[in-house]
């Protein structure tokens, strides 16, 4: 019998090695696999390449990984919200490298990797600073930039519910990068709120078929990842 579930986050992240590249799902708080990231902090792997839309927030989860100095390079589209001080401090000291990628290009590069493509041409960034040094090409009168697929050794993702076969359903804006990263990681590890019996997931709501998932672990949401504003201000 196939059983991709593991009992603990520690077990789920045990294979991560020094120097590994890791995609981390989520946008803002929804969909961030916070418990897996905390387990990775405990685990100790370092010199990591992290691929994530942002740069973490505060001193926990990805923010904590930054604080601990475990990230050698970040590929992100929006690493500079106010809460990303742990990354900012390291970056300004030159202790972490940043590759800034437009958000749509970031997700498309990840998709290209998962889909076995050799790269694609996107209009985004053509003629701007972020296209410097990149191949460009005029297609049907419009300028495009060549972008390469983006693979990773690991993808840490979060879903709402999953089964032992690795089938996953997301909930609302939790989906974001997660189903795409699930296709592009060499080893895909999912944190889910609930593991259910096979066939309990509604067929038409299985957003990530189990084929893409290697391990999943049931765990509650990291408390730092639900943070309604006290004064109505954006984080």
């Amino acid at each position: 019998m196939i059983d991709k579930t593991v009992a603990t986050c520690a077990e789920a992240v045990a294979q991560v090695f020094d120097g590994a590249s890791i995609m981390i799902g989520g946008f803002g708080d929804p969909g961030v696999p916070g418990r897996l990231i905390e387990a990775l902090r405990e685990h100790g792997a370092t010199n990591l390449l992290v691929i994530h839309n942002g740069a973490g927030s505060g001193d926990y989860c990805l923010g904590g990984l930054m604080l601990d100095g475990r990230v050698r390079k970040l590929m992100a589209s929006f690493p500079n919200p106010p809460g990303a001080w742990a990354f900012r401090d390291r970056y300004l000291k030159g202790e972490v490298e940043l590759e800034l990628v437009p958000q749509g290009t970031l997700i498309e590069r990840i998709r290209a990797a998962g889909a076995g493509l050799g790269g694609f041409f996107t209009p985004t960034a053509a003629g701007t600073e972020l296209a410097k040094g990149k191949e460009s090409r005029v297609i049907d009168g419009r300028e495009y930039v060549f972008e390469a697929p983006l693979h990773a050794d690991f993808a840490f993702i979060k879903a709402y519910r999953g089964d032992r076969l690795g089938n996953l359903c997301y909930r609302k804006a939790m989906r974001n990068f997660n189903p795409i990263m699930a296709t592009a990681g060499n080893v895909v590890i999912a944190e889910v709120e609930q593991i259910v019996a096979v066939d309990e997931l509604p067929l038409e709501e299985i957003h990530t078929p189990g084929i893409f998932v290697d391990h999943l672990v049931q765990v509650d949401r990291h408390p730092g990842l639900f943070d309604p504003p006290k004064k109505g201000s954006a984080k």
Binding site: F27, G31, P81, P102, Q103, G127, E129, K172, R175, P228
Partner: protein, 229 residues
């Protein structure tokens, strides 16, 4: 008189047609939904995979899995939908989002937009700004006409790094509504009580005054919110 930030948002809201799919940037654009008439169905897109973003969640009712692109807890309108990032940016880059309303640091006479890299900013961030600027046909800038120091933001040529070249279609400011045309900027409307020369005085790029240039129709206030001052 000049428009308040809410007044600029109000004026933009008047131009969004029923059935449009609109992505709103941070700043003044986030105020636009407050001025959309209730009987006009317009869907707000958020690049993190939400179409049909509704009002902010009331305190205590926040859904931990539903935020907008500014990471604010929001609601979903009836008929809204959720999807992954790849499809969300397919909507943007593929030209499906009909309108984008965004802030700007600078706009040039040819429609060049600079809004992603603030001068002096030590850590850069671009988010989805470039995808929107390259992908959305009706790119509307909503901003104050001049900087905090009174310097023009509508220039002959941008000095900051570009978000995208020749992408802006209209500029809504506290002073005017300006259209970007192949022949340069055209002044379409002025804030109540202003004239074209007052707008030109605060604009580096030359403005051609439209034959039917008129005063904006913006009430002084709506529901107790001041639209002009």
């Amino acid at each position: 008189m000049t428009l308040t930030r809410e007044g600029i948002a109000y004026r933009v809201a008047c131009d969004l047609p029923e059935g449009s799919y609109v992505n709103l940037g941070i700043g003044i654009p986030t105020l636009v939904p407050g001025f959309l008439p209730a009987d006009k169905e317009i869907f707000i897109h958020s690049e993190n995979g939400v179409l049909g973003v509704g009002p902010m969640s009331a305190p205590g009712t926040e859904d931990p899995d539903l935020v907008n692109a500014s990471k604010q807890y929001v609601t979903l309108v009836p008929g809204g939908s959720v999807f992954d990032h790849a499809l969300s940016f397919a909507m943007i880059r593929g030209g499906h989002i009909t309108h984008s309303v965004i802030g700007a640091i600078e706009v040039a006479a040819n429609g060049d937009l600079a809004n992603w890299r603030v001068p002096g900013e030590k850590v850069p961030g671009v988010g989805g700004a470039m995808d929107l600027a390259f992908g959305v046909r009706n790119l509307y800038v909503a901003m104050n006409h001049v900087t905090n120091k009174g310097e023009p933001k509508i220039l002959n040529k941008c000095t900051c790094p570009l978000t995208a070249p020749r992408c802006v279609r209209r500029i809504y400011t506290d002073l005017a509504l300006i259209e970007v045309t192949p022949d340069g900027l055209v002044l379409r409307e002025v804030a109540p009580g202003l004239d074209a020369s007052a707008v030109q005085a605060k604009t580096e790029a030359p403005l051609r005054v439209a034959g039917d240039c008129r005063e904006m129709i913006v009430p002084a206030e709506v529901n107790g919110i001041k639209l002009s001052a």
